[in-house]
C-alpha cells in the first residue's frame, strides 16, 4: 500500500509512533492495520518507511512506525488511497508464509 501512495524510502526515521489495532479476524486485522497507516498518512501527514512489530496475537497488533512529516515540496505522493476494502479478501498460508490479494479504492 505504501508503494501505491508514495516512495516509502524517502522518509527518514525522524518520528516514532506507537500503533495498536484490534479486530475480529485476521482479515479484518489486516484491513484495520493498513487503515491505521493510511490514517497517519492522510490525516496526520506522517509517512512511514519502516515498522517494528512488538506483538501480534489473535486479533491484535502492536508496533512502532518510523517516519517523518510529509512535506509536499520534498516528498512525492503518487495516489490518494481512499479506502482499504474487504473485497475478495482472503489470507492464505503457504509453506510457512502468508499471501493475500487486497483491493484499495484509489
Amino acid at each position: 500500500m505504501l508503494h501505491l501512495l508514495t516512495e516509502p524510502a524517502q522518509f527518514h526515521s525522524k518520528k516514532k509512533k506507537y500503533l495498536y489495532v484490534r479486530s475480529e479476524s485476521w482479515e479484518s486485522l489486516l484491513v484495520d492495520w493498513l487503515t491505521e497507516i493510511l490514517y497517519y498518512f492522510t490525516v496526520k501527514k506522517i509517512g512511514f518507511s519502516r515498522f517494528k512489530i512488538k506483538k501480534i496475537a489473535p486479533f491484535a497488533l502492536a508496533a512502532f512506525g518510523y517516519g517523518e512529516t510529509i512535506r509536499p515540496e520534498q516528498h512525492s505522493v503518487f495516489h490518494e488511497v481512499k479506502a482499504v476494502t474487504y473485497h475478495d479478501l482472503k489470507i492464505k498460508k503457504r509453506k510457512g508464509s502468508y499471501s493475500t490479494r487486497i483491493i484499495f479504492d484509489l
Binding site: 479484518s28 487503515t35 490514517y39 492522510t42 490525516v43 505522493v77 503518487f78 495516489h79 490518494e80 481512499k82 479506502a83 476494502t85 474487504y86 473485497h87 483491493i103 479504492d105 484509489l106
Partner: protein, 479 residues
C-alpha cells in the same frame, strides 16, 4: 462465474432468478456492450444484490456497469422500508459524489482567446489533486454545521446565492442527517478538504453546448447552443469515505446479529428500521451534506474566477446553477411496484435519479419539463444533459446512468500513454488541461473509460432518460 442473460429487448437483459436471488436482475445495455460487461464480475454482483432481504422489482444495472465493492458501479436496488435492509455498499464510499452544472449568459466567442486564462485561474482557485487540502479549515463544531446544513451552510457563509439552492436536488440539504454521527476521524479527514476537487475521475470543466436534442426542455433548463457552461464533478472527499468505512464495520456485525446471509461480505447491511440502519441513514445524510457544501463552495470560486478573468459583473456573467444531482446515495422514496404504492429505500451507486415531469421533487421551474440529469463524460469527451422520464419511474425507480465507467485499469492506462503527451494531444483538440499530476492524468485517459456516448444512447433508446443537450469540453482542471 459466468451468468446466462435472457434478452428481453435490444437494451434489456435479464438475469433470471436462481439460487438465493429474491428477484431477477435487469441490465440495461446494448448487445455490443455485453462482452466487456461479462469480462468482470459485475453480472455476478447484480445477482448477489438480488439476494438482499426486502428487495423488490429487480436488481438493476445501468449501461455503465462495472464491478465495485458489493454492489456493482451502475447498480440500483430498492428495498422495502418495513422489512428491507440498507447496505452502505449500495451507496458507495464517496457518499453523494455527484455533478453540478452551471450555465452562463456567455457564448463561446466571448471566451475564445481566454480559455487558458480561465483554466489557469480555476486551477489556482480550486484546490485539486492527491490529498488536496483547501482554502478553508474548519473546526469540529463548524463541520457539524456542514453535516447538518449542506450547501445551505456554504450560502450562509457567503459562498454562493440563495437562488443556487433552488436548483439543487433536495435544495442542497438532506434534512434527515445527524451531524453527531460521523466519527472523529470523519471530521478529521473532512475539516481541511471542503472546497476541493480531489483526484481520480473528479474534474472541473469549462464546456460549450455543442448540440441540442430537445429544444423545449433545453430552453426550460436555460441552455442554448454555443453557450458556455461549467461542470463540477466531486463528492464528499475523505470524510464520506470514512463514514462509509465506519459503517461497513457496524454493518458487518449487524449482518451477523440479524442473521442475514450474504453472498459477499461487502453487501453488509442491517434492517432499515433497526438502530444500525437508522444511524447509517443519518450519517450518510451528513456525508451527503458535506458533498453538497463542497460543490457549492467550488461554485462560488468558479464564479469569482470567471468574473475576475473576464472582467464581468455577476449580472453580465449570469452564472447560475442548472442543477446539482448526485449518483451515490440512498433515498427513501415512494414508488409503484406491481400496482401497489410502496415506501422504499432506493440505493443508487453510480446511477443518477431521473424523475419525470410533474414529480413534486423536481424544482418548480423544471416541473413541466422533468428533472435535469447530468452525465459527465471523461476528460476529453462529451458530457450530457438528459431529462427524467415516466418509463424510468416504472422500470428503474426513476434512475438512469451516471457516466462512462472504467474499461481499463489505471496501471494499464499509464503504460499506454504519457501524461504530458496526453495533455498535448488534448490541446491539439482545443481542450486545455491543467493537472496536479501527470501520472494521474495518464490514468484518466479517455480510452480507459467506456464510451459515454454509447452509454447515454442506450439509456435514451431504452427510454429511461431522454437526451437534451451535449456539452463539449474546452478546458479541464484535473486532480
Amino acid at each position: 462465474m459466468s451468468i446466462a442473460l435472457k434478452k428481453l429487448d435490444d437494451y434489456r437483459w435479464q438475469i433470471p432468478q436462481f439460487g438465493e436471488m429474491r428477484v431477477p436482475g435487469l441490465i440495461f445495455a446494448s448487445e455490443a456492450m455485453l462482452p466487456k460487461i461479462n469480462e468482470d464480475k459485475a453480472t455476478s454482483q447484480v445477482a448477489n444484490v438480488a439476494t438482499l432481504p426486502g428487495i423488490v422489482g429487480a436488481a438493476l444495472a445501468m449501461p455503465d456497469i462495472h464491478w465495485g465493492y458489493g454492489f456493482p458501479i451502475g447498480g440500483v436496488a430498492a428495498t422495502t422500508v418495513e422489512e428491507g435492509v440498507v447496505s452502505p455498499g449500495g451507496i458507495g464510499y464517496d457518499i453523494s459524489c455527484g455533478v453540478r452544472l452551471l450555465r452562463t449568459h456567455l457564448q463561446k466567442d466571448a471566451v475564445a482567446n481566454k480559455v487558458a486564462a480561465i483554466v489557469d485561474s480555476l486551477f489556482s482557485q480550486v484546490p485539486s489533486g492527491v490529498g488536496s487540502t483547501g482554502r478553508i479549515n474548519l473546526t469540529a463544531k463548524e463541520m457539524k454545521k456542514v453535516f447538518e446544513k449542506g450547501a445551505q451552510w456554504a450560502v450562509e457563509k457567503g459562498l454562493g446565492e440563495k437562488a443556487d439552492l433552488e436548483s439543487c436536488e433536495d435544495r442542497g440539504r438532506i434534512e434527515t442527517s445527524d451531524p453527531d454521527l460521523p466519527s472523529v476521524r470523519a471530521i478529521e479527514r473532512g475539516k481541511d478538504q471542503l472546497g476541493t476537487l480531489g483526484s481520480g475521475n473528479h474534474f472541473l470543466e469549462v464546456q460549450i453546448v455543442d448540440e441540442i436534442y430537445d429544444a423545449g426542455v433545453a430552453a426550460a433548463f436555460g441552455l442554448f447552443k454555443n453557450q458556455v457552461t461549467v461542470m463540477i464533478h466531486t463528492g464528499s472527499r475523505g470524510c464520506g469515505y470514512q463514514i462509509c468505512d465506519d459503517f461497513l464495520k457496524v454493518m458487518r456485525t449487524a449482518s451477523q446479529n440479524y442473521r442475514i446471509q450474504l453472498p459477499d461480505p461487502q453487501l453488509a447491511c442491517a434492517p432499515i428500521s433497526s438502530k444500525e440502519g437508522k444511524d447509517y441513514f443519518a450519517a450518510m445524510g451528513a456525508g451527503a451534506n458535506y458533498a453538497r457544501a463542497n460543490r457549492q463552495t467550488i461554485t462560488h470560486w468558479v464564479r469569482e474566477s470567471f468574473m475576475k478573468t473576464l472582467s464581468l459583473s455577476p449580472k453580465d456573467l449570469g452564472m447560475e446553477v442548472v442543477y446539482d444531482v448526485c449518483h451515490n446515495i440512498g433515498k427513501i422514496e415512494e414508488h409503484e411496484v406491481n400496482g401497489r404504492k410502496m415506501k422504499l429505500c432506493v440505493h443508487r451507486k453510480g446511477a443518477t435519479r431521473a424523475f419525470p415531469a410533474g414529480h413534486p421533487e423536481v424544482p418548480e421551474r423544471y416541473r413541466s419539463a422533468g428533472q435535469p440529469v447530468l452525465i459527465p463524460g471523461t476528460m476529453g469527451t462529451f458530457s450530457y444533459v438528459a431529462v427524467g422520464t415516466e418509463l424510468a419511474m416504472k422500470e428503474t425507480f426513476g434512475t438512469t446512468c451516471h457516466g462512462a465507467g472504467r474499461a481499463m485499469s489505471r496501471t494499464k492506462a499509464m503504460k499506454q500513454v504519457n501524461g504530458r503527451q496526453l495533455q498535448k494531444d488534448l490541446e491539439a483538440k482545443e481542450i486545455l488541461v491543467r493537472t496536479a499530476s501527470y501520472r494521474g492524468l495518464a490514468e484518466e485517459a479517455p480510452f480507459a473509460y467506456k464510451d459515454v456516448n454509447e452509454v447515454v444512447e442506450v439509456c435514451h433508446r431504452a427510454g429511461i432518460s431522454r437526451k437534451v443537450a451535449r456539452l463539449k469540453p474546452i478546458g479541464v482542471v484535473k486532480g
